[in-house]
Symmetry: C2
Subunit: 159 residues, 2 copies
Amino acid sequence: MVLSMRTTDLLTVSDVAKRSGFAPSALRFYEREGLLSATRTSGGQRRYHRSVLRQLAFIRAARNVGLSLDEVAAALAALPDGRTPTRADWARLSRGWRGRLDEQIAALTRLRDGLDSCIGCGCLSLKTCAFSNPNDIAAAAGPGAAYLPRPLRSSARIS
Amino acid sequence: MVLSMRTTDLLTVSDVAKRSGFAPSALRFYEREGLLSATRTSGGQRRYHRSVLRQLAFIRAARNVGLSLDEVAAALAALPDGRTPTRADWARLSRGWRGRLDEQIAALTRLRDGLDSCIGCGCLSLKTCAFSNPNDIAAAAGPGAAYLPRPLRSSARIS
DNA sequence: GTCGTAGTTGAAGTTAACTTCAAGTCAAGT
DNA sequence: ACTTGACTTGAAGTTAACTTCAACTACGAC
């Protein structure tokens, strides 16, 4: 009966870094921010469970969609009981992301179309040119924020 | 013959701020960065020519497309002789921007499609999931930069 | 000439998301 | 036991694009 306990099943920082693509410093940062957790060796070094790889994949996906780390943290905090997002969690969350992507794509498309109708015109009127005007998205943007799209102003509260 | 000289044809900072939508502090900042220029009164106050409104519209349009201020500065610096972009300049530059927008839209669309094919799957495999993987755009991003899209990482050197 | 509003400057602050550094400790192969 | 490479921490630095502040000066209507 050779059922080894495999206590060595835990990953070191560099293991996780290599396998996730995140820098070790980012992993430590995420831990400070409460997005990740790890056990420690008697000597104080981090040891990660393999599930962090999935969590990191989740984080990367969310960031790719344009979510801020705060939003990712909120999403993770909103998970029922446990921690690592399950298939169901993922499905629910990603469905919401889809809408976000759709909005971003739509905004960029409007911008491109505006550009098309402007090429050769050169008006660039602050009053009428659809392109240089902070037209539709404008409103939001918190205090101190410039006008708009920067399509990835991920912090844009589109509400 | 009442041809008034209209020396009062110059705009103050707040005039420009109101008409362009940029904060006065942003105008001063742009001037320091060499994107804008103004004459001064004997007392040292700024007085802008109306053409800055067009320049600001240009800047806003460029930023909306995702260009960094450095890139805007470079674009302005690359203009033949004068300063304010002419209709022709605008047409040439904006045609280049269109490509940029197309790329951004394509990247987001790929991401969305990846999401669609992932919803319900929940694999989020770092190796195979198209969504959490730093798949196609990855390469670029300078040192210290995370993996990718943040579709508006405006500083992405897509070269 | 007075007064209140508007403008000036340089320096420092802001936010996000990390990275870099210094100084020192741990893990593990030989 | 030794050595080397990996790891730890807190603090400070980084970048973009501005904003805020403090202390002070100019403009211009009356």
